[in-house]
């Protein structure tokens, strides 16, 4: 029974890995669901939270494909919450190579779907609405299987061999991976920042950084401060109000990103 739900949730994660709508592929959702299916909900939630932080910056922009959160969270959650009962730190460590594997798989399926798009063209020539719909659904199912099939393979291999393989890793490696697990989240933050950063926005980052040391302010309080600052900026910035002020204020120049300049000069 739990095996059925693991495969079902794996399928949903695969579908969402391409759709990006309901977010069944996000680690916090996928790992929790797999944990639930295996009867170890709490381990799934904790693993999901940890992986979520790592995957914060993993998103597809245009045609570029990001590391795949779906395969990483599903299989790593199965190893941690399933019969193998692997440690959370090890689960995180195996998640990263899995994210790469998932990325390769989705690129493969996206290429395969080119052929399906041509099949849809042939149905369109016949005016067949149903035919076009069917091809679309088939493509979606293949994306679901992209995660469901590897998951079934891992399940078939069984807990013993997986645990033995992971147990053969020396302590220096697992300890080091645990240490690295604490700071690889920076890559996720970096990916988000490198997408958003403009000269006007960097000061807000450093304001947040400085306030972060005040540990009494929890994230909700920080969110309120952030919203207030954003609203103030929108009200006061000549960029949005300055019909008269305009260029003389010079507040909205589109120059280079100063931090980037410093980084590039390195």
């Amino acid at each position: 029974m739990s095996a059925f739900f693991v495969v079902l949730f794996a399928f949903l994660a695969g579908v969402e890995g391409i759709l990006d709508e309901f977010q069944f592929h996000q680690p916090i959702v996928a790992a929790s669901l797999i944990g639930l299916a295996n009867g170890h909900l709490m381990e799934g939630v904790v693993l999901g939270g940890t992986l979520q932080l790592i995957a914060l910056g993993w998103f597809n922009v245009g045609a570029a494909v990001a590391p795949d959160a779906a395969l990483a969270s599903v299989i790593s959650a199965y190893l941690v919450t399933g019969p193998a009962q692997v440690e959370v730190n090890t689960g995180i460590a195996v998640a990263i190579p899995l994210a790469v594997a998932g990325q390769v798989l989705t690129i493969f399926v996206r290429t395969l779907t080119v052929a399906l798009a041509h099949t849809a063209d042939r149905y369109a020539e016949k005016g067949s609405l149903r035919g076009v719909e069917m091809v679309h659904v088939i493509a979606l199912i293949i994306q679901g299987l992209r995660i469901a099939i590897p998951t079934m393979i891992v399940m078939a291999v069984g807990a013993g061999p997986v645990r033995d393989a992971l147990g053969a890793i020396p302590k220096v490696i697992t300890g080091g991976l645990g240490v690295a697990g604490g700071f690889i989240v920076v890559v996720g933050y970096g990916m988000v920042i490198s997408m958003m950063a403009t000269p006007q926005l960097w000061p807000f980052f450093f304001l947040g950084f400085a306030l972060s040391a005040v540990t009494q302010l929890n994230l909700i309080a920080m969110g309120i401060i952030g919203v207030v600052i954003a609203l103030l900026y929108l009200q006061l910035s000549p960029e949005f109000n300055g019909r008269g002020g305009g260029p003389s204020n010079g507040g909205s120049s589109n120059g280079g990103d100063p931090i980037d300049d410093i980084l590039n000069n390195y």
Partner: protein
Amino acid sequence: MADNEKKLTKRDLITVWWRSFFLQGSWNYERMQNLGWAYAMIPAIRRLYKTKEERIDALKRHLEFFNTHPYLASPILGVELALEEQRANGADINDETINGVKVGMMGPLAGVGDPVFWATIRPVLGAFCASLALAQNVLAPIIFFVVWNAIRMSFLWYTQSFGYKQGVNITQDLSGGMLPKITQGASILGMFVLGVLVPRWTTMNFVLQVSKVKNQAANVVDLHHLTNAANNGKLSVDQLRNVIDQVVAGKTVDTFKVTTLQDTLNSLLPGLAPLLLLLIVLWLLKRKVNPIWIIFGLFIVGILGYWAGILG
């Protein structure tokens, strides 16, 4: 005349909205979201065009290349629904107009959707729920799922309806009005929260010992008297009170004062190491280094640091 007018029903609009959830299902490298787009438009095509020839034409023009942020396709869908409806009723709207509107809107709208949804709302919500999850709160995934989908589904519905009502006028409205404000406001919030998160949730512990000195006896809580008294059965309330007073006064219980590299860094500026690491990562990303290689590199740094006893 009103009898012959072809009109999309509310139900059609709802079906298109539901189908727009599956926009990327057949994402492919040739025409990207083209088939998903056609899939979403089919309920309207079915309603508006009854002859085979009309349907063939409609399918063909909606199977052209299309790619934008999956949520920002909704206002475009709305506009295209309005255009198709007018065309079916005999308005002079040719294929070029219909494709022109699609292509003209998809670029700018993708530019709004990526920073707002992927780079702000999802990381902020994800980070917040991840903090709950790490505190072993089962509500974390539920909050993430419900809040995200409430935002997403209402956004898709309202922007689709907005596009449908506005028709082609929407392009001007969007570029001149709210969208730049929303993008800027969301980005400010996003950068601020990231600034908070980078030092708070990056765990870098430099356990390397910088110094180890014996604490002066005057600064250490006098535990020997206490244990002696306890072992001899002569422990008094006053002795306990005395020890507690010493602790409250800020005396230490350790014989040695160990300063790690981390303590030194913290006294300089809390979160300095994560910040420096972030700048290095940003520099690498600027150099178009694949993020996965950066992650592997950091794993190696972690293993070497752990092996050398610097990190722990």
